[in-house]
């Protein structure tokens, strides 16, 4: 047996599984997105129509799709930097030689990641209740009027972002912590001998050394945050006035609530295109940054 054939043979099981459970369903969904598959078609295949790109065209003309995309982008644009800042900040604190009780804090800060989103959402809903919530109670102490956190279309998304950041930052924190621990201490030692301040050490040693980790974490976060669903699902059900309805939420409504699987598949592919474009751009920018760093 020649080597290429042996290699294919070894790859076969994985390829088969991937093909059967990933490529095939994706292709089927792509086909589905060119039809008007719905409840009636489920009852009788003769009610199925091939509509070519009508689903996509219809979606692009629907204000709800654009507003859902807008909400999702808002969530990503604000949520990802916030979450990265929180993760990096806590990772730096945990990595500091001055930190005490590291194991405890690491576990405590990671805990939100592994809690059930539904249970936690319930508590957050109490915290952010307009009338009885602790948050408004605390704000009242500063003389600030009660805010209708989850009922006001302007405040609902910020509240969801806060919730998502709190829920997710622990995961990235652990990855960044590992990245920080991999930086050789000699570099800091040399910098200290040269008289570099803590800020300059952070800018010229920590950030560049952490760059690959940061890039990976940000790409993972962006693709994760684009798939916003569980948070609005349990906190606001997409409301108030659909102000927290995300693209994925729209897909869920279309597909599983109203059983319009054709247009739901189209939503999925549009979201895929958007996510692909954004992460590809990020990768390219990241690489260019690397190149710029190497040259001078």
């Amino acid at each position: 047996m020649n080597p290429p054939r042996a290699a294919w043979l070894f790859l076969m099981p994985a390829l088969l599984v991937l093909g059967l459970f990933f490529v095939l369903p994706v292709l089927a969904a792509l086909l589905l997105s060119f039809t008007d598959y719905d409840l009636y078609a489920l009852a009788d295949p003769r009610n199925l129509r091939f509509v070519a790109l009508d689903n996509y065209w219809g979606l692009l003309q629907r204000p709800l799709f654009w507003s859902a995309l807008g909400h999702t982008c808002y969530f990503v644009a604000v949520g990802v930097p916030l979450s990265m800042a929180a993760s990096l900040g806590t990772a730096l604190l945990l990595n500091s030689p001055l930190a005490r009780g590291q194991a405890f804090f690491r576990t405590a800060l990671f805990a939100p990641v592994v809690t059930t989103v539904v249970a936690v959402a319930l508590i957050w809903r109490y915290l952010f209740n307009t009338k009885y919530g602790l948050v408004n109670e605390a704000l009242a102490g500063f003389g600030i009027h009660p805010v209708d956190w989850l009922g006001d279309p302007h405040w609902a998304m910020p509240t969801i972002i806060l919730f998502a950041v709190w829920k997710n930052f622990g995961y990235n924190m652990i990855i960044l912590l590992a990245g920080l621990q991999a930086i050789p201490p000699e570099l800091y030692e040399a910098a200290r001998i040269d008289g570099a301040s803590a800020l300059r050490q952070f800018r010229h040693i920590t950030l560049p050394m952490l760059r690959p980790t940061l890039l990976m974490v940000s790409i993972l976060s962006v693709s994760g945050y684009f798939q916003l669903f569980a948070e609005p699902y349990v906190m606001t059900e997409g409301g108030p006035l659909q102000s927290t309805e995300s693209v994925l939420y729209l897909m869920y409504d279309e597909g599983f609530k109203w059983w319009n699987l054709g247009s739901a598949s189209a939503v999925a592919f549009l979201l895929f295109v958007v996510m692909f474009a954004v992460t590809a751009l990020m990768l390219r920018l990241g690489r260019r940054g690397d190149a710029a760093e190497v040259q001078p």
Partner: protein, 449 residues
């Protein structure tokens, strides 16, 4: 539609794959195997799905049925309400529907469109227990699609007013409102205070469509027969009609005058408690809240609240004809046994016990003649309302349409659009949702309910 496809019986089977090391284990397996085999041989299994809280209560009624029918073994499955709709459709797609199920009556047209349900007219004609004329007429009608009957009403649900008798009296009103004008006066008199001390006439959660729907069903919709919230044989939306606009304006006006807070049901986290404290004088809700108020409000306050039929634009008004029915699935191989269970659950005596267990209101007039219901003033308002309920359009798209209706209403409440803009937009969207239905009707599709 293909012929009824057979379904493999799902029996519990023990298949020891490893060689047994201990004789007692083999013995135990033999006994279990024998037990399973025996149960499956002599009693026919009947899969019965329930939705929400009903499952727990009906579990207490099943043993008696099994005693009466020793050849039937009922296998009860409780679906949570939030997952029920999906689960039913998935079961249909996956060819694993139960024998019979509880089904919200607004979901019936959808499953009929799928050819999932067995027609029941023949069985009702031959039945000695189920008498259609004993049922509230418009509740019965919600189970008919295209002239055929697909479900037997199990319990009913409608919306009416819960109100604080003492607060109304203090404001100078001795009786609950009879028409909208009187109601408006009461709401104005009962909405007082500012900020945290604000007291509202009524609670209408902005994300629940049932309240606006009840008001909209009270309206007249033009001269053409069959026209309601939809027109032309349910082909187009009819939300720009004068009738719907009147209902929407009345509804929105309550919020504009701050007689109801513009909050969702998630934010009104404990409406019972707040009703007790007098934050709301009226609460437009359904029968299950009789039980809630009885358990949640202190004994001293039990005489302070009451229920009343919904006031209409001029005189006693209509309300929605909701509730759940019992349906038999077309693919069931135990349809006769399923029908026997439906007949058992439809007996007035059983329905009265069901009411005592859960507070779900029976759909038969004779069931209302029993002690527990006849002497209950708070339930009697529902009895009165049930004679004046109106069904919603029996089409699969309805659930989606009524959700869209509430979304547009919420936009008017928030001041984003006017009543005219909202209704025009609503008609535009509803017409789009009904496009496929129109196409199928024009093609002469027989599957369209």
């Amino acid at each position: 539609m293909s012929a009824v496809r057979g379904r493999a019986p799902r029996r519990v089977e023990f298949r020891p794959v490893r060689r047994l090391r201990h004789a007692w284990l083999a013995l135990a397996s033999c006994i279990l195997l024998a037990a399973c085999g025996q149960a499956a041989d002599t009693r026919q299994p009947l899969d019965f799905w329930t939705i929400g809280r009903e499952g727990e209560a009906v579990a207490k009624l099943i043993p008696e049925f099994e005693k009466l029918h020793p050849d039937i073994q009922v296998r009860l499955q409780q679906l949570p309400l939030t997952a029920a709709h999906q689960k039913l459709l998935t079961a249909y797609a996956g060819d694993s529907t139960p024998d019979l199920s509880q089904l919200g009556n607004t979901w019936i047209p959808e499953l009929v469109a799928l050819h999932a349900l067995a027609p029941l007219d023949q069985r009702v004609r031959q039945s000695r227990t189920i008498d259609p004329s004993d049922y509230f007429a418009n509740i019965w009608a919600t189970n008919q699609v295209g002239g055929q009957l697909y479900g037997i009403p199990w319990y009913v649900d409608t919306r009416l007013l819960f109100y604080r008798k003492d607060l109304l009296q203090a404001a100078g009103f001795d009786a609950p409102p009879r028409d909208w004008q009187e109601w408006s006066r009461m709401l104005a008199a009962l909405s007082t205070g500012e900020g945290r001390e604000r007291r509202y006439g009524i609670l209408l959660p902005t994300n629940e469509f049932e309240q606006l729907l009840a008001l909209a069903l009270q309206q007249d919709y033009g001269p053409k027969p069959g026209d309601g919230l939809l027109r032309d044989g349910n082909r187009y939306g009819n939300f720009e009609s004068a009738g719907f606009k009147r209902a929407l304006s009345f509804y929105v006006e309550i919020f504009r005058r701050h007689q109801a807070p513009a909050i969702t049901n998630g934010e009104a986290s404990n409406p019972w408690n707040e009703f007790g404290r007098g934050v709301y004088a009226f609460y437009l809700s359904g029968p299950w809240n009789i039980g809630e108020f009885r358990t949640r409000l202190p004994a001293a306050q039990q005489d302070a609240w009451a229920t009343a039929p919904l006031p209409g634009p001029d005189g006693p008004g209509a309300s929605s004809a909701g509730g759940s029915s019992l349906v038999i699935f077309r693919r069931s191989r135990h349809q006769q046994a399923a029908w026997q269970l439906i007949e058992y659950l439809s007996q007035p005596a059983v329905q009265q016990r069901f009411y005592q267990l859960l507070g779900d209101m029976p759909p038969r007039r004779s069931s209302w003649a029993g002690e527990a219901l006849r002497n209950d003033a708070k339930a009697q308002a529902f009895r009165d309302q049930l004679e004046r309920v109106r069904p919603t359009p029996p089409i699969p798209e309805w659930e989606r349409i009524v959700n869209e209706m509430q979304l547009q209403a919420a936009r008017v409440i928030a001041g984003e659009v006017s009543v005219d803009q909202a209704t025009a937009e609503l008609d535009r969207r509803v017409d789009a949702m009904l496009a496929k239905r129109r196409w199928m009707l024009d093609r002469g599709g027989s599957a369209v309910p």
